[in-house]
Symmetry: C2
Subunit: 333 residues, 2 copies
């Protein structure tokens, strides 16, 4: 109630000062880490367009759905996806309970510190690592494991917590959109239950607005207590053509704005910008080898190739991290 009262008083004050309760968008001065280039301008112009009451482009509040990829769009994804680093840490933590891993790939290589050798087995090896570390416990237990990890594990290059490796300009963008009555969702190829324990605190995005890849789960009584158990079986892969499917499944309406950074996001952007009325599709382009990483068409992680071509052809917005962002991480000088 107190917060509501504060908001109310602020509105009253604004009305008294300006003599009207304006219908236009909240000012974009909430984007201090963005240079005033074409990327920022296209975002602000879009938000002002859909917020302009009485115009043909006005979008009612409930339809202001914005979707964000996570890895490489909201937080970094180098030298490899952070969830994979989590899985590797978990293999080490669980090794004492699995003496058989010493003689079993990909675990044997991993435990000898040979990550490259372990991952040489490709996708089957990764699936094995993920299943061994992400299944066999309750959802509550997994929440706790992830929460403990993000509170303590450090990024191998920067030494910062992974949840500090989020892009400051994107945090400002999320807040700016929400100030203009957008509902912000994550739509990530990463694990839905790997993200949910921390997205509300870090991004202001509650668990019910997180869409991601998932394992199958089952409801059962364990020691007489209702429990949801994580099974070693993939339920859904929220990547590429899976992203529009995940959006439809979870959100049930087409977003009007989508933000990604790789070809894994291309179909999400196609689906978003394929609808009628004003639409905003944005690729974050990793161009800053000094402050972050520089990669695109040939990267094995976060490859942006077809997407870059389509962005050019369709006139989508491409954020040049080096040029458009004055700061990348909050901890930058």
């Amino acid at each position: 109630m107190k917060r509501r009262l504060k908001k109310s008083l602020a509105v009253i004050a604004a009305v008294m000062m300006f003599g009207f309760a304006g219908s236009s968008s909240h000012a974009a001065d909430g984007l201090p880490s963005w240079n005033d280039g074409p990327a920022k301008q296209s975002i602000v112009a879009f938000v002002e367009r859909v917020s302009a009451q009485g115009t043909a482009d006005f979008v009612p509040v409930p339809e202001r759905i914005a979707v964000f990829d996570n890895d490489g769009t909201l937080w970094a994804e180098q030298p490899m996806y952070f969830q994979l680093l989590f899985a590797l840490d978990r293999v080490k933590a669980l090794a004492p309970q699995h003496p058989e891993w010493k003689a079993q790939e990909p675990f044997a290589s991993l435990l000898k510190g040979d990550v490259k050798g372990a991952l040489a087995g490709g996708e089957p090896a990764i699936v094995q690592i993920v299943m061994a570390t992400h299944a066999g416990m309750s959802t509550d237990e997994f929440d706790q494991i992830v929460g403990d990890w993000v509170a303590s594990a450090k990024h191998p290059k920067t030494g910062h917590l992974y949840t500090e490796m989020v892009y400051q300009p994107m945090l400002e963008l999320l807040a700016y959109l929400r100030a203009n009555d957008f509902k912000t969702f994550i739509v990530s190829g990463g694990g839905i239950d790997f993200m949910r324990p921390w997205t509300e605190k870090v991004y202001g995005i509650p668990p019910e607005q997180v869409v991601g890849s998932s394992s199958k789960t089952s409801f059962e009584m364990r020691d007489g207590k209702p429990t949801i158990m994580r099974l070693p079986e993939i339920n859904f892969i929220d990547d590429k053509a899976g992203k529009p499917v995940g959006i439809h499944q979870h959100i049930g309406r087409r977003p009007i704005a989508a933000f990604g950074n790789s070809d894994g996001d291309l179909q999400m952007l196609q689906w978003t910008c394929g609808g009628p009325g004003p639409r905003l599709c944005v690729f974050v382009h990793h161009t800053d080898a000094d402050r972050e990483w520089s990669y695109d068409r040939k990267s094995s992680i976060g490859q942006l190739d077809k997407g870059l071509d389509e962005a050019g052809a369709e006139g989508w917005t491409v954020v040049d991290m080096k040029v458009d962002w004055t700061r990348i991480f909050a901890f930058d000088p």
Copy 2:
């Protein structure tokens, strides 16, 4: 903005009248169709308990998640599930494009008007009818088909639109919970895409807060346009033990309040009330043969048997529709 201003002025007025911005719950006078019996009292007591700031039972706003079954809990489900009546209507509408149905069960019986004969094939027959009527079109097209049907089809007994067959006391309850900062979700065994086209208008529940059974879908380019197609394959059945699984998948946190009417909701209530802190579990009991229908332990639709026993054992709230509700439908005298 106008609505926000009105709300603001109302809050200011309340503060001036009462001299404080209280932290307690919004008054329960928003439940005029509820008699002041134990059911209403248990609901109001729960809401006041979780809203009382500074107490051990206070629940922060983001965790105030309430889940509602749909068939038999928010709207009626007799003489059969309304979605099945929709499917039967669709079979008739599609028959000219399917001359083969004249010689093929369960369609042949249906087209002769013999519903009972068609459904004698049990679940396989129902699955056939649902697949023939719910798949093979885009999600946008299906939205339109459902929207047209709910705007025109009439209930065989009352002659009212199906969306008028919603329980007035439950509409008031949804609004009362939202006024106390609850986020309200539907968690139904019915089809997620059958509900979404109308739940926002009818219940104030937006598509992204609807959980239900689903078909598989695929993202594809159709005539160069990005399209999500509905496939004739079941993706998820959101019933019984599937309900906690669906809740975990879509919402990602455990509700603190759950409302159902049948054994299909039992696991949802177990999951909700199995958590720590204040919890509210409610069964709506169909006891009014005059104003609605009367059925429970032996009904083939909406059977409430184990649930009734467990409600007694656990002290859950049971709403006696005949006794607790002064009105059932808005169109009641």
